[in-house]
Symmetry: C2
């Protein structure tokens, strides 16, 4: 049985194992899921061992454990480091799920569950590829190292410390990271750029305690109104971010790259259908793909304050909160952008309130030159596997791991997504 | 034993009974408290019977029951209708309470519990006065009727229907309503004006479902940002409400009334201490008391959308919501103001989102001429009871019952608060 036959033969078993993985609610942002996070790490270690990997280790960190494994390392062969993360985002609001987030369900040939596309599903493909190659062919023609973390959704802080302390162990010619997407269903894609991410939380305090809006309304600072007024000052009418200095270091898009992006087989109509809003919007002067791939943004991710239950409560709350994030592009410096955003928010607030501004996490943007040989090899493999033309794309999402200065690779990171076409 | 001795003798028992009343979580805004609401109504009926009242009735309505009772009605005597409400506002956020909201606790000579000052505490004073007069003196020198509702905090809708259908039964020379406050601790006060209240809820929908801010951010309408931008357009820099036509029907304050308000024994410093914010704010050209008593306002009472838990979630939510209310003064028409506010909110929203705007309740402002004889009698009683000068005040809060056209009284409503001075 060759490797392809082996994979075909085990298709159903792979699906059941992936479902097992997806059933573990490994939500990294919430402390109450800590045991589940650890269960997911142990589950992975076990599966890596079954796949014939060596030196499998669950490595504790200050927060959630890392999982490491490697094939037999033969000198002189090319070495690939495969990255994945086994943590997922919170699944709330639960009422918007058609099937429960941690009860994987197949509908119309798609598998629905939290983490199925970010990043358990993708990593599981690598895992099963390693297992199949090991079982069918015994040895791989290259050296493979695998590192999987459990805090990608909260900023990968402990991964950095590990990477800094283990440069030799992690040394590789290229890194394969599949926590990315395809341009469209059935279009094999290699990502050469990701946006960075700073995530912030703002707390505005007016009165020392909740007040009755009848007894006090009209004379006291309302933190909801004031927070809303501050948020309204963060964008210009033309969709640009109204934070002075925000665009100062942004690298200009080359004419050739804009042309390449324009030529991609991407349909705005399909994007509009998925979004489902009455209309799109964004920064003037840029196409939709440029807006979500190549331009920095500031988005509100959460807001709350006062009474949010059913019916009425005539309260002026003491506090109101917002969560917001900035997506960053080369050559923006996340630390500098955090200072600028904090300064702009504070400047927008009157002296009638106090403000607490926290940077919850920061991550750098990443951009590679896809004319390099490693990218050529990767795209050739992809086109062979899919039997169709593959494309180079950027992405609007962020992967904290993609930090230009973190690895001492000979070649830069190679990000792609290997998911069977339909 | 005369009535005063009788009251002194039963002080401790009255306190225990009040605590019993306060322990019933009669939250009218939430369906799950329905059995508690009904328990509160039955508790009141029982106590009114013990107080020697006649014709005690728990009257079902489409929502929460009314409780009615009266003394023996003797023709030719003056008739007073006493109003109260036994429902309370939700107690959330629970973590801000020093002692549990439905576990009445005395601290430093004050009784803390949800409803202790709105309106169970006040009504309990009337109840015990009726009981003491009945026990000590047998018969009252006036006719008294009592009506207590269970949906004051949600707009008193069913009370209106009852009042309209029972004009004769409720006929009285004056109405005593103590769901009001005192100017300051130890200052006996009679309220001659209350603001009206319209309460609204806004739902803004952008995308058809929650989207990832990395994959979509920069090109799609963010309902949180857009809701905040709309809210920011509802006030001018000078604190005025920026809804065209909002002030059009507002009655001008007379010079004599402004002078009387200015002369009241009220300390801004104490108000500032209670509020505890870095500074006060409000409409330019008006004093703090004028702002909270005599001027209309628009306040945000709640806001929510996106991820509001611990940590991070990079979401662009499909929806964001706000609860807001306008306090109204003579001669604003609540129905007209609701139309104006809805129009202004819709105008502030771009075409990239849908908006659902609901008026949850409306209530008219009320203002009486306190030179009328009934007010003179009331203030003379108050001054006798407290043995000190009493004052006429307005209030910023709202009582849906105070609707100028609702009752066919010979004299207008007389609102006061009878709470022992300290």
């Amino acid at each position: 049985m060759n490797v392809i036959e082996f994979i075909d033969h085990h298709q159903q078993q792979y699906l059941e194992e992936l479902k097992e993985f997806l059933r573990i609610p490994s939500v990294s942002t919430r402390n109450e899921y800590k045991p589940e996070i650890e269960r997911a790490a142990r589950w992975l270690a076990e599966k890596l061992r079954s796949a014939g990997m060596q030196g499998v280790e669950v490595i504790p960190t200050a927060t959630h454990p890392l999982v490491y494994a490697q094939t037999k390392q033969v000198p002189g062969r090319m070495t690939i480091l495969v990255y994945g993360h086994y943590d997922v985002q919170p699944a709330e609001p639960l009422e918007l799920w058609t099937s429960p987030p941690f009860d994987p369900t197949v509908r119309d040939g798609n598998l629905y569950a939290r983490g199925s596309a970010d990043d358990k599903g993708q990593f599981h493909v690598h895992l099963k590829a390693l297992e199949a190659l090991h079982a069918a062919e015994g040895e791989l023609p290259i050296n493979v190292k695998v590192i999987i973390e459990g805090e990608e959704e909260i900023g990968s802080k402990n991964l950095w410390a590990f990477v800094a302390d283990n440069r030799h162990r992690l040394k590789a010619d290229a890194l394969v990271l599949s926590d990315t997407s395809m341009l469209a269903r059935g279009v094999p894609s290699i990502t050469y750029g990701l946006r960075g991410l700073n995530y912030y939380q703002v707390e505005v305090t007016g009165p020392a305690q909740d007040l009755h809006s009848g007894v006090f309304g009209g004379a006291v600072p309302n933190p909801i109104t004031i927070l809303a007024e501050a948020i309204s000052q963060l964008h210009e009418k033309n969709g640009r971010v109204a934070v002075p200095g925000f665009y100062e270091d942004v690298a200009r898009l080359s004419r050739s790259e804009r042309k390449a992006i324009e030529a991609l087989p991407w349909k705005e109509k399909e994007f509009r259908r998925i979004v489902g809003a009455p209309d799109l919007c964004g920064e003037k002067g840029y196409s939709v793909l440029e807006r979500i791939w190549c331009r920095p943004t500031l988005e509100l991710n959460g807001i709350w304050g006062g009474y949010t239950g059913h019916g009425e409560k005539t309260v002026i709350p003491a506090k109101a909160w917002a969560k917001l994030s900035t997506r960053l592009v080369p050559n923006q410096d996340p630390a500098r952008i955090a200072r600028l955003v904090e300064g702009r928010v504070r400047q927008a607030l009157p002296k009638t309130v106090h403000c607490k501004f926290d940077v919850l996490s920061t991550g750098q943007p990443w951009l590679a030159d896809y004319s390099q040989p490693i990218f050529r090899k990767a795209i050739a493999s992809l086109e062979k596997g899919f039997a169709k033309k593959a494309v180079f794309i950027r992405e609007g999402g962020s992967t904290p791991l993609c930090r230009p200065d973190a690895f001492s690779f000979e070649n830069p990171l190679c990000a792609s997504r290997f998911w069977p076409p339909r």
